[in-house]
């Protein structure tokens, strides 16, 4: 199935707009797209009429333009008829917002639209979903724009079975400065499921990393998903809910008792190089890290800090996440000693973590980053930047990004406050380097690279 017209429509029809109720989901969708997005949007209601002076088309076939995407927000029982009209009129695909299908026990109704769509090669998202959010292009979420926290345009695609969770994850992305390429709530995923989304994003040049919020897979759907991940070739991150404990007493084999649904899920995800997040913060942190550094590391971390305490905390956190913080060889320590300014030579420590102390300057951090980038015993640097140290300026982010561009070793920066040190942070983020706002997040970013495998 070709999903291009569905995800990148030039024209959109919103079917089911109300002539009297402005907060009807279809009206919210129609209004926000008409007022804020470049997509051409047309309202449809069987009764015809006008909304604020704009003509409402009684049927999709009455619209003078060819429609790429239909938003179906009618009552569930008329969705089959509406979809048939869409197919008839050559529409490119649909988002079925309406609920009242398998989730409410109406499995037959859902099966009817699925078989119609399959037969007509007509892709649709949902039913029972928010649909598609495409930054600066269109938005089928029936949530008034001012109620959403909208992230910037970026390279992370998000797919979710739950619309509400997706909206929250987008808010977290906005908070962390992670931009998204597309966000899709697939709802009941009656036709288009996670596997179709993986295949779509494989071909999407605007997407580098794909995240999924999953509730469950259908029969053998997990297998198909796992096998589609290596083909996709881009980092995939999942967050799973419904981790029901295994081992009902009726089970009589040890294997069936130990290998419960979640244990199997988690093991197979890791087997196929999927990075599993344990909460909503991790999913965003992992996405930020892997969208900057799409690579696998062994997990030997070099830490550079301006405070001993931060270095010790970071070391502990690395170790508890299965990362190593190897002690540097004598020769490497000597190189570091020689590279820093005379003022700190006697007070800094050059093992691992490298503690440059509160007397350090930008030059010392750059010199240490350069030395560690060439140290073969590590494959990632965590840089604990404390911008309140007097010798550190807001230029350090951009300077360190040059070290990364020149040397190629991933650098993960920790900066304690987003607003206050924004210019420092942008020195990294505008140069496609991740910035963490807690020591633990910085370690999670390294962990994402250790767990990611391109199969």
């Amino acid at each position: 199935m070709d999903l291009k017209r569905l995800f990148k429509p030039g024209t959109m029809a919103v079917i089911g707009v109300s002539l009297s109720n402005e907060s009807h989901p279809a009206n919210v969708i129609y209004n926000k797209n008409r007022l804020r997005y470049p997509v051409e949007v047309y309202p449809v209601n069987g009764k015809g009429g006008f909304i604020r002076g704009e003509a409402v088309y009684p049927k999709i076939s009455d619209i003078p333009s060819k429609i790429d995407l239909a938003i179906i927000a009618t009552k569930a029982d008329i969705v089959p008829a509406v979809m048939a009209e869409c197919v008839e009129s050559g529409v490119g695909g649909a988002v079925v917002i309406s609920g009242g299908f398998s989730e409410a026990g109406f499995v037959d109704l859902q099966n009817r639209i699925v078989s119609m769509a399959r037969e007509a090669d007509f892709p649709f998202i949902g039913p029972n979903c928010l649909g598609i959010f495409s930054p600066s292009h269109m938005d089928t979420f029936f949530i008034p724009g001012e109620r959403m926290v909208i992230p910037g345009h970026g390279r992370v695609a998000m797919v979710s079975q739950s619309g509400g969770i997706l909206v929250d994850h987008m808010a977290k992305c906005a908070l962390e400065g992670v931009g998204i390429s597309l966000a899709v709530s697939i709802g009941n995923k009656a036709l288009i499921n996670e596997i179709d989304m993986l295949r779509y994003f494989r071909e999407d040049p605007g997407t580098d990393v794909i995240t999924f919020y999953l509730e469950g897979f259908g029969e053998n759907e997990g297998r198909a998903f796992a096998l589609a991940v290596p083909e996709c070739g881009k980092p995939v991150i999942v967050l799973k809910s419904g981790k029901t404990p295994a081992g009902s007493t009726a089970v009589k084999s040890h294997t069936a008792s130990i290998a419960g649904d979640y244990e199997v899920f988690s093991s197979v995800m890791s087997q196929y190089g999927v990075v599993e997040a344990t909460d909503e913060y991790e999913i965003v942190t992992f996405a930020e890290s892997l969208s900057c550094y799409k690579r696998t590391i062994k997990g030997n971390i070099g830490i550079i800090t301006g405070s001993g305490g931060h270095g010790a905390l970071a070391t502990d956190t690395c170790l508890s996440h299965g990362l190593k913080v190897p002690t540097f060889r004598e020769a490497e320590q000597t190189k570091l000693f020689n590279s820093v300014s005379p003022a700190i030579k006697k007070i800094a420590s050059f093992s691992n973590p490298v503690d440059l102390t509160g007397s350090s300057t930008d030059d010392d951090f750059v010199a240490a980053a350069l030395a560690l980038s060439r140290n073969k015993d590590i494959d990632c640097i965590i840089m604990l930047l404390l911008p309140y140290i007097p010798g550190i300026t807001m230029d350090l982010g951009a300077r360190l990004s040059l070290v990364y561009q020149q040397e190629g070793m991933p650098i993960i920066a920790y900066v304690p406050h987003m607003d206050k040190y924004n210019m420092l942070i942008e020195g990294f983020t505008l140069n496609n380097m991740p910035v963490a706002h807690s020591v633990e997040d910085a370690v999670h970013m390294a962990e994402a690279m250790r767990r990611y495998r391109s199969c």
Binding site: S253, T255, D261, Q271
Partner: protein, 226 residues
């Protein structure tokens, strides 16, 4: 394709929902897996003759369609060193409900592992490897992978076990033959790929591994839907 004989054994077990040890081991042997040398008999004379042939010490286990977990009913006696003790074990087994004879088999020494398969609704056949024996559900030191296993999967399964230093020869102990274990797991993986819709889960527990071989000493096959 599964051999006719294997399909026959599965069909025969269908009313009960699971295969007793002799049949389960027979299927595994037909599929090229290494299982212990054993005799299934209801005669104590045959049992002693077989014990003499394979040499003491031997293991005696009950065969009963009513007993899935043999050790729960004292249905396993290890280290039987002579005819008299074998006779006593036979009597002990005969008292167990549903008695259909005993298994007499060779004693194999080494590290006890468990290998198993579960037909997962979402992922199809998955394979588990772990530290075995009766305490497996307490320690749960296991690795799970989707079948069919690739070479790299077997390596990562072994590496992910907490007890993997034991397998490599911890503190002077003999390391196990990783080659035999890998061969066994790959053969098991090919077999279970044929079991879709037929088998629900399998325990090979224990699989005893030493420096030269990995051998299945007990097996349980639960049919699909049981």
């Amino acid at each position: 394709m599964l051999k006719e004989e294997i399909l026959g054994l599965l069909a025969e077990a269908s009313p009960r929902g699971w295969l007793m040890e002799p049949q389960a081991k027979h299927i595994l042997r037909l599929s090229g897996l290494d299982v212990t040398r054993f005799l299934w008999t209801e005669s104590v004379q045959e049992a002693t003759r077989f014990a003499a042939e394979i040499g003491y010490p031997v293991v005696v286990k009950v065969v009963s369609p009513e007993v899935i977990h043999k050790s729960d009913v004292s249905g396993v006696v290890l280290g039987i060193s002579g005819d008299k003790q074998l006779g006593e074990a036979f009597e002990q087994m005969r008292a167990i409900r549903g008695f259909q004879g005993i298994i007499v088999e060779e004693t194999v020494r080494g590290t006890e592992l468990i290998a198993g398969m579960k037909m997962d609704l979402q992922f199809g056949p998955v394979i588990m490897l772990g530290i075995g024996g009766t305490a497996v559900e307490i320690y749960k030191d296991v690795a799970i992978r989707m079948a069919p296993l690739r070479g790299q999967d077997v390596e990562s399964m072994l590496a992910s076990l907490k007890a993997h230093p034991f397998l490599e020869g911890y503190r002077g102990a003999e390391p196990i033959s990783i080659e035999s274990l890998t061969k066994m797991l790959l053969a098991f993986s090919s077999l279970v790929m044929e079991f879709e819709g037929k088998v629900g889960s399998i325990d090979l527990n224990p699989v005893i591994c030493n420096a030269t071989r990995c051998i299945i000493t007990d097996a349980r096959i639960m049919l699909a839907g049981s």
